[in-house]
Symmetry: D2
Subunit: 342 residues, 4 copies
């Protein structure tokens, strides 16, 4: 609110932006370069474009958001850098995947790998351990690749692993981090951190040209000041993670409800019969089913535990309905408001 | 504020976004397609990219913001559409310029003109009359060109001309309008209006791919609801225009201060000796000098008339100082806070 | 040779280029638009870029050359159009694949499908039957997609299927064809045929901007005149196909040599033990192993049947060597010149 | 011709390509990196794209071919690098222009200059002296800019200045040269020379992705072997220059025919009354008038001196016809074949 008062020097040279950048440097214990952009699509795509030339490629998991849900944005921003997708069943990339995809071909028809991107936590809510990140980073640097971390839910990973932001990133070998603000409760803002400062050369121009320089930059940067300085970024992430655990624990004894992935951060993926999911929807619950057909529940920074319990109760009840005994449903109370999802 | 409460369907399918779009349709008396993006760079560049293929060109004035101040953004978003610049002394393009640039060459080495962009009001604060817009539009449509209007200060033009938004745009032949919110007092948001709806085909995908789709779109759209429904958009523009006129009128009798352009909207460009500008700066006034070396004063929606008068008084005083009699300056009171500029 | 004499109007407006285009129109029994570019990378990438906007996607097989061997060229020329890859075991796309990939998602995060590309014959030397092409085309047009055919070895497909070029393309529903000249014996030249002429609007400008307009266009176009008017394009393709069949027939009785794909055009893919392939290489034979680790032998328009027989003899001999009895190899004659591969 | 025989390793790893590259290294007395592409559009655009990021800009003369005649190709290949055009009356850029355009603005809205391109000889047939090139190069390197030379008629410049290729390029401070083959008599081929080898990192991939890697590269490279090893490249350039001089000398005494630019290489620009130019055209002479409305005569490597004399005679005759006495023309012999133009 405070940042909205009065007139300030535009385009990111104001005091709020500089204070937000400093808050990141303090939090990450590193004199990194910090930029603020409008959303995650731009943050990840611009960061990858800064690491690559158009003829380079980026190694990623087949679950990676940049591959599945960005409508070609990475290719657009980089003018053609291809994503090389590891065709494994896991959302987590391994050092082995990196080695395989970057050494299987060396001919000129294969876009030269230049960067690796991992999502922490993954799109399935799973975590890379510090050891796994270090192994991937070691493979990257041995092979001349940069390591980019898509941290749209970075806070949730920090909360879950209980490690410092520095340990999970540059100390483990990450070169660039996109730190999500939107999923952390902010209106519009993602931060991009270059731990190797020379990688940020010209990045301000790149942002400007790509329509990601806010004239009133303080609206993007100022919210981070409060968020980081107060520790709210981590507190709310702990809360969101706890909500996911709270839901999962209430579902473990149900035979026809399966948790698709370990619940490690703030999302729960449920595999169930379609009729159960349909009834959940009818009762007003909103969720996506784009990964493996399961229902994804992601808990936001401000999720209401009572809502979580109501959701659990609904799932429990629906899971017990016999396929042919739909009448039981009539006992149901009125549909609830949907949970706060991100 | 109200839009920030609770959780809503993301990515622009929420109620606020639809209400804001409807407010535009009402204001413009037209069932147009409406999109919201983060800033003016993106609004103009995406709109032009939607009108052109990479091998097309866009005709503009040599003063056009897209030519002088977008760091290659139009070329980036369109993947190479060249700007064909009318080399005239005026910030205003004419129907004659359009005809000349689009018919002077027809060979394949000359990027095929496909769109014309005009800024209303221009970067120099001048206005196209309705007749002029109609003449340009007639030339465009006769030559198979689309007409795009960069309206980053569109409200100021409406206030100054006293005409309806419809008259200044689609009724005059404008195909696409970028309506500025940032310079109208909003944090981050520009609206793009396609009056010919088929031109908007796929534009939602274009925005998404280019990192201009807000997941919490209501933060971009909701402020427009209040702004448009209350009439504030026009009221504040009238106020800003009046401030510019107020400044200009206090400077007309000064022999060594020249108004570079007619003061028609909310900016005043002053030509003066460098030493006078320097002293203005020393007294805390902030202004750009990028057009013709003159000082540009742009008055924001919330400019304070008392500030305007203080600025006028400072300019009057400084204009009377003899070059070699700098001592007079000692009589000055302390520097003031800078005016509210956009 | 004849076209090299004297000075002609440059940039494709010469008589040879117009005569070559007419030869294509005659051959295809269709008043199509014809363009000549330098190589297959450009031909396919430009054709797809003409069909798509940057936010669109192109459906293809996982074996498709545009996906595996173009170093990101399709994404570069189109400024980000993503390839949606059918994850099947076959090099041949099916109408079912087209339907699945184009209807599985409709959200804005999924690049909107706009074109389908099939390679005839496929990268594995297999053929789409006319029925299969018609089925794919029907699915395409029902779904609002264009059908592009990568015909870098189009002549071999015509020779093998014994059908007219028209039947294999526009009569079956193909919208755009890239007809390969390089693999047909020419130095540098690929032809692009738009059967729906409106799709070619502006394509000349697109070629120019992308560095694919030859100032001395006759060098690209004139060789086609002789090739098409004399029927050589088809005669040489028949010959190349026959060479592949000749090799395959001599290998059918070998227990440790497997033909990986049906031999339908001019290539033979052999699966064998690595030590056998190694010895083939030592004996001077050149081949790629990029598909499934097998050895690919592709026979050119001018392949020498005697060479084919020598290759067959070498494979037969090597296939009989016991793993531990390398001494047998000493009986071998000197390595031969490599076969003529494309 | 010799290179067309038999089958060779494709994609530029053949013996002819390596021999052609060596011939350039010998000629330029420098271990430079050498690439061959299909035409000048691609050569210049790819070279500039290798020097710039999309948000960078390239300083050039307003006469520069990349600005006036490439249909947006430089912007397309670089994904948006803007050309900053020196608005002077001369086709020759000066060190002063470079300094002005690269230091006049430092804000983020101005695309950051990264390269300078000069054409030697210029589009008007004029020459930069070695001193001028050195001055421009010094300014470039002082300002952190690369110097690119568009040498589509480089041979003519060498012939005219009588200096070594090394002296005109890297010894003077040029970083990258595009050496034209097409205008030197070849079918399709331009060479790109990076004198600073690290600038060529990844350039082979860039060429491949942009559709400029010939599978039968020897067709692009082999002609250079003969051309360079035999000295023909320079001999033919001397001849072409001499033809231009021969024409100019026969026109000096005509009062209504003006030479627009000093005739320093192989082109002659004539300013004349439109009726004279029209009659020249009627007599079968072909020429462009795109620069300043004058007639451009460019003499090719194989221009026929007798033709030059016939052209001179025609101009002399036409220049003497009274405006109202068109009957004189009836005395004219039949129109001649057009001169050999490039």
């Amino acid at each position: 609110m405070q940042a909205n008062k009065g007139s300030l020097v535009p385009y990111g040279e104001d005091e709020w932006t500089s204070r937000a950048a400093d808050a990141f440097r303090t939090l990450f214990e590193k004199a990194c370069e910090v930029f603020f952009v409008f959303n995650g699509t731009a943050a990840n795509s611009l960061a990858l474009a800064a690491l690559c030339q158009s003829y380079n490629s980026v190694i990623c998991s087949s679950y990676a958001h940049v591959e599945t849900d960005e409508c070609g944005a990475p290719e657009f921003f980089s003018n053609g850098s291809k994503l090389l997708v590891a065709r494994t069943d896991s959302a987590k990339l391994t050092a082995h995947d990196v080695r395989t995809l970057s050494t299987c071909r060396h001919d000129i028809h294969y876009p030269k790998p230049r960067a690796v991107t991992i999502t922490q936590p993954t799109e399935t809510g799973e975590l890379y351990s510090l050891t796994e990140i270090r192994q991937i980073a070691a493979a990257c640097h041995e092979l001349g690749l940069y390591l980019h971390m898509d941290g749209s839910r970075f806070a949730n990973a920090c909360a879950a692993l209980g490690c410092s932001p520095a340990d999970m990133t540059w100390r483990a070998g990450v070169d660039v981090l996109c730190f999500g603000g939107t999923k952390n409760g902010m209106a519009v803002s993602e931060a991009i951190l270059f731990f190797e400062r020379s990688l940020a050369d010209g990045f301000d121009y790149r942002c400007k040209q790509a329509g990601q320089l806010a004239s009133k930059m303080r609206f993007l940067s100022a919210p981070w000041v409060g968020m980081l300085e107060s520790g709210a970024w981590l507190r709310t992430a702990h809360h969101a993670n706890a909500c996911a655990k709270r839901l999962a624990e209430q579902l473990t004894d149900l035979s026809n409800i399966t948790l698709m992935f370990p619940v490690q951060t703030n999302s729960v993926f449920i595999k169930s019969e379609e009729r159960i999911l349909d009834r959940l929807r009818m009762r007003g619950w909103r969720f996506y089913t784009f990964i493996g057909g399961g229902a994804r529940f992601v808990f936001a920074w401000d999720a209401d535990p009572a809502q979580v319990d109501r959701l659990a109760a609904d799932i429990r009840l629906l899971s017990r309905i016999e396929p042919l005994n739909a009448a039981v449903e009539d006992q149901f109370p009125d549909p609830q408001q949907p949970s706060s999802l991100d």
